[in-house]
Assembly symmetry: C2
Homo-oligomer: 267 residues x 2
DNA sequence: TGTAATTGTCTCTTACAAGAGACGCCTGTA
DNA sequence: TACAGGCGTCTCTTGTAAGAGACAATTACA
């Protein structure tokens, strides 16, 4: 990538771009940070706190927030000095769904699958080099194994991650997976080579199962959805108790693969 | 000079120059225009055309689009040189839904109502001073009376518009309704006073029916959803053939009002 | 009551983003 | 083969938006 040796002339600025937004950040970037911040907090937040949260000057934040509220991308929340996402973003999101066959059909298929099996079902995609739950349907179990939609999880933690990376070469995979991503929630550390091997296995098998990776009580079954031959655009996955019998697991995998194939674009 | 009297001082508030975005426009504004433009076109568009569409310099547009694509707000469409809304906007939109009880329940209620009655049902809200179809469910009629979600229609054209403006005083209403808005699709011109009178009637009746306003073949039944006593936050509406019998219409209105009331926040 | 923190607004400066325009690369067509 | 047109990138200039900071007005304790 075009990383910045060209900019080496600049004395003090250089590598702090992803972390702390330094000084004199572009307004648009600030806005993008604001949106992302609201996405992670998942709730309305005061403008002052928002400024702290994205590490932006207060005055700038007020200006930007006003623009965004006027535009309808953000809305003032009930009590009056908090902001959260606005109707416009919802409308744009619906436009995205409408323009995206895969997502539209995938949502239906996921809803259907979870009703049919009673298990939590999800549609997952790559989003900016990260694994993202694009849609999920909770299933009927008493305890809800639920992850919020839009949640971003390190790729190595998931079965879907192994399928989604099937099309990429080693360099690209290394690029997407940070060191931290290889550390599982329970503290175990995955070796990158093992992960890449997993990807190859998943690719040729056409499905992937992981047990107790994200948490100790579930296993995750995933099957690829292709947008073109060999190109994994998304995965459908089922989250089931880790002690599910192997016969039942096999049945679910078969079902899952069939449904995922149905979603795939026939070449 | 940029002092108080905020209302009078601003000559043309929200609708600045929708036409020619002058020279040296702020990047964020350009972005907002881009999003709005994509929302109206409802399809992927080339960057060059996009620049023309929002009347922005090509080089600037390329820069902005790249930022937005990197951020995931936009995505390159299939053939590679077109852009449309991206996954991030969908995710943000889902966040909005999650944080918004009314919308979430309203969507369900609308879906349910259209299945129950077989008629097209919609949830409508004010959005930046305009009437907006926030969610719609098509109904089962052979010919589909359908308006796309997110469509913005002049307030005077609709039954919902009359209810949504119930809480506003004359000045506010005049502010929201332009001269053009008073001209119906068939060319007839509504008098502002008549419209305001309609609003008062709708307010006290607790529902509103319009016949043949948007098109000659349908009538629109609407009932208010309150977020607080007297505050109309949204409307539910049914779009039925204009020759629907008055008994059936009455039944549907009763049903609609009941469902809308159920959505309202109990004070 | 005082003191401290927060909130929303406003002013002024200057670092820098928006924009004009040129460039090379395609693709189509005459 | 030449020409027209669109696309994507790059450079350079200058108008202006981001930011520092001051301000009054709330709230929040103690």
């Amino acid at each position: 990538m075009q990383d910045g040796n060209a900019l080496a002339a600049r004395p003090d600025v250089g590598l702090d771009e992803d972390k702390t937004s330094g000084s004199r950040e572009k307004g648009l970037n600030r806005v993008l940070q604001i949106l992302e911040f609201l996405h992670t907090t998942q709730r309305a937040i005061g403008v002052g706190d928002l400024a702290k949260g994205v590490n932006a000057p207060r005055s700038t934040t007020y200006t930007l927030v006003r623009s965004l509220v006027d535009a309808g991308l953000l809305e003032m929340a009930g009590d009056g000095n908090r902001v959260y996402f606005g109707k416009k973003l919802y409308l744009y999101g619906m436009d995205y769904v409408r323009g995206n066959d895969l997502l539209r059909r995938g949502r239906q298929e996921v809803d259907h699958l979870s009703r049919e099996t009673g298990e939590t079902s999800e549609l997952c995609m790559l989003q900016g080099g990260r694994y993202t739950i694009v849609h999920s349907s909770p299933g009927t179990r008493p305890f809800r194994i639920s992850s919020a939609t839009g949640l971003q999880i390190p790729l190595p933690w998931t079965a879907s991650g192994r399928l989604l990376l099937a099309g990429f070469d080693r360099a690209a995979i290394e690029d997407m997976v940070s060191e931290d991503d290889l550390v599982l929630p329970d503290g175990r550390r995955l070796r990158l080579d093992d992960f890449i091997a997993d990807i190859a296995v998943a690719k040729s098998a056409g499905y992937c199962v992981t047990s107790g990776l994200v948490d100790a009580y579930t296993k995750c079954l995933a099957a690829p959805v292709f947008s073109a031959p060999g190109r994994v655009e998304a995965t459908m996955c089922l989250v089931v108790p880790i002690d599910t019998s192997s016969e039942k697991t096999d049945d679910l995998i078969a079902l899952l693969r069939e449904r995922a194939a149905r979603l795939s674009i026939a070449a």
